[in-house]
């Protein structure tokens, strides 16, 4: 097999064309929110991660929350690299453990507006147990789940969100497991805010992120995202544009959808993708409840 020159990322020609570290910095409205010397990022051409990170930072900017009062925590994966680019206190922890780290950080300092930014595999395979428990406790932070239907970073293996028949590098004969319906999982576990968008729905995504940043309690936003390198190439979505068109053509906004019905049909890649601002409810947060119980305890003990 011959290597096509234009795709040889390691050819001297290609390396020469790569911008120097920080060279493009200063030309983008969100530059103040990105770590200058970490740009350019490592993500593939056509990847949806840039859109999602951009949306998060735009929402952050729009809310006027000071960057020094925010923290971003990521696990491991392509999505997990987001923590390395944002110019706020940011933590890139072990695979699956972003949520317990965020729990400790937020409970340790309740003034930090805390957001977990991580992948579908990180949050729902290895980290799935932490997710449901943080939602159950209603700890006050946001979780952005980049659902690219596979383990992107490790080379496109099947995971807990992979459509059941999809061919991946570990399901070379086709898949045979059922994927999670993430909004239903989040709502069932107790999240007070649940939304799903795709990278095609940038404005709606930013609005949801703003809501989540301002809202008290456990907020969950699933973002369907192209991964042409890991997932798309085996399922007929070889480019980011193709996946964006797929999202555009198949999405339907339904804020009032019954979450039991928003599962992405695992057997039909062209089935409807129901997106929307599904759940927005009020419930006392973990810290509010614990604060009350402890206050009562102090009264009983007769201490301040």
């Amino acid at each position: 097999m011959s290597i096509r020159k234009s795709r040889d990322l390691f050819s001297p020609d290609y390396m020469d064309q790569k911008p120097a570290k920080g060279a493009a910095y200063g030309k983008h409205p969100l530059d103040g929110y990105l770590r200058k010397d970490r740009i350019p990022h490592i993500w593939c051409p056509g990847c949806g991660l840039g859109v999602i990170l951009n949306s998060y930072l735009r929402a952050l900017k729009d809310t006027d929350i000071a960057p020094e009062d925010t923290a971003v925590i990521s696990g491991i994966g392509c999505s997990g690299r987001a923590a390395g680019y944002v110019d706020v206190d940011s933590f890139h922890v072990t695979h699956g453990r972003a949520i317990p780290f965020a729990t400790g950080l937020k409970v340790g300092n309740r003034d930090l507006v805390t957001t977990v930014f991580s992948g579908d595999g990180d949050l729902f395979a290895i980290g799935g147990n932490h997710f449901i428990h943080a939602a159950r406790r209603n700890v006050d932070f946001n979780v952005i789940c980049v659902n690219n239907f596979n383990y992107g970073m490790t080379g496109g293996q099947a995971g807990p969100t992979t459509p059941s028949e999809a061919e991946t590098s570990t399901t070379p004969w086709g898949g045979f497991e059922q994927p999670f319906n993430l909004p239903a999982v989040a709502a069932g576990a107790g999240a007070v805010y649940v939304a799903r968008w795709t990278t095609f729905h940038v404005e709606q995504l930013i609005n949801s992120l703003e809501k989540a940043l301002k809202k008290k309690g456990f907020c969950f936003i699933e973002v369907l995202s192209p991964c042409p390198t890991g997932y798309g190439r085996k399922v007929g979505l070889k480019t980011g544009v193709k996946t964006m068109n797929h999202f555009k053509e198949n999405s339907e906004i339904d804020h009032d959808a019954d979450l039991a019905d928003v599962a992405l049909d695992p057997d039909d890649p062209n089935s409807k993708i129901i997106v929307g601002d599904f759940i927005d409810r009020e419930a006392p947060t973990y810290q509010d409840v614990r604060g009350k119980v402890f206050e009562e305890a102090r009264k009983k003990l007769g201490v301040e």
């Binding site: 960057p67 206190d89 072990t94 453990r97 729990t103 400790g104 950080l105 937020k106 402890f294």
Partner: protein, 388 residues
């Protein structure tokens, strides 16, 4: 903290009170025998102290939560036993790599696997040193009494803050569940160490650039330093790097941070070693039986002494090397496992003395007679090295 004076406490309660005295205001844990009393004590005491007690979904979460809390500026602790400690190996490594101060109490019970939940063992000694993947430098305190559960938990917090790492208090079921007199000093008599804070303004601050003691000052989240913290190999700015040079600098420093400061961290006791020909090495609950064994052996005319590491990592390697050269002809390591510290002792003697093991598989500690029997056997040349 608890009122100063003499109290009658079990080891686990004493450890919880030591944590409180050290300034711990964050605890995350998952119940497990024989460590649960630490969680229960903290849960009971934290409302009045305005502390945060979190009961997590497992030990993976417990240790990760205390790392998060530490970066929020809290003094944080978790407590567990073998099965939970095994789960913690993952983020123990993250804590060491990201230089996150915190304390882990491991109350050892019989293993492997679920093992003997309610009974004593010392099978996790090497796990604290080698259990997480990659090369690390660690600090592990081994208490032998409820008093030391109190004192060493405070020390563990101080060392964690001073050298920026998760520090382990490696207790065992016997020490944790025995009840004894514990002296609680006045608050102002307890030394409390806090992490070094940045001296440079945020624009110039390099969060992983060490001072001469090899420890970098620490900026907590929310203090305006915009720190990036990663478990990947990282440079002094905290940015990930894939080059060998950065790996070499970082990992060497993490190990040297403990190795080169070992004189400050290392602690051990000696008993009747001045003229000893045979030295028992024992730690944790077994130390208590070993003192008695020394006296019994002395009565029989054997010149026996005792070396008792209080920090098992770093290990008193030079002291053993010197003893082996100053006339000790053999060491007998009494431990409740099939030989862990014995290899360390043998290494430290560098062939200048014989090393023997008094093993025990867990369930109970050695009796003084068990140890004495070994001494007599060695005197008579009966025990081949490491056998039985």
């Amino acid at each position: 903290m608890m009122k100063a004076g003499t109290h009658f406490l079990d080891g686990n309660t004493a450890s919880a009170e030591g944590a409180i005295a050290a300034g711990c205001t964050f605890f995350a844990g998952y119940p497990i025998t024989p460590a649960s009393e630490i969680l229960e004590r903290i849960a009971n005491r934290f409302p009045e102290l305005h502390g945060s007690y979190l009961q997590m979904e497992d030990e993976l979460a417990s240790i990760t939560a205390i790392l998060g809390a530490s970066w929020a500026g809290r003094k944080a602790m978790t407590a567990t036993s073998g099965p939970g400690f095994s789960l913690m190996m993952e983020s123990y490594g993250l804590g060491l790599m990201t230089e996150t101060p915190c304390v882990i109490v491991n109350v050892m019970r019989g293993g492997p696997s679920t093992g003997l939940p309610t009974k004593v063992a010392q099978g996790d000694v090497n796990q604290t040193r080698w259990g997480t993947h990659g090369d690390v430098g660690v600090v592990v305190y081994v208490p032998s009494s409820p008093q030391e559960m109190f004192d060493m938990t405070i020390q563990a917090f101080n060392t964690a803050e001073k050298y920026r790492l998760p520090v382990v208090v490696l207790s065992d079921e016997m020490v944790a569940h025995m009840t004894e007199k514990v002296e609680i000093p006045e608050k102002d008599e307890i030394e409390i160490v806090d992490r070094k804070k940045p001296r440079d303004p945020p624009e110039e601050f390099l969060p992983f650039c060490p001072d001469e003691d090899l420890v970098p000052p620490m900026a907590n989240a929310g203090e305006g330093y915009s720190v990036h913290v990663t478990g990947l190999t990282h440079d002094e700015e905290g940015h990930p790097s894939v080059d060998e040079e950065t790996q070499n600098m970082l990992v060497t420093r993490l190990i040297d941070k403990i190795r080169k400061n070992a004189d400050d961290i290392l602690e051990y006791d000696e008993y009747k070693t001045e003229d000893a020909k045979k030295v028992i090495v024992a730690y944790g609950s077994v130390y208590r039986a070993a003192i008695e064994a020394v006296d019994m052996a002395r009565e029989k005319g054997y010149k026996v002494g005792l070396l008792r590491p209080k920090t098992i990592w770093p290990f008193p390697e030079e002291r053993i090397y010197d003893l082996a050269r100053e006339g000790v002809d053999s060491f007998l390591v009494a431990e409740i496992n099939f030989g862990q510290i014995v290899f360390e002792v043998e290494r430290c003697t560098a062939g200048a003395a014989q090393t023997y093991l008094a093993p025990k598989m867990g369930g109970s500690i050695h009796t003084p007679e068990d140890i004495l029997e070994r001494i007599e056997a060695i005197e008579e040349g009966e025990i081949p090295q490491f056998k039985e």
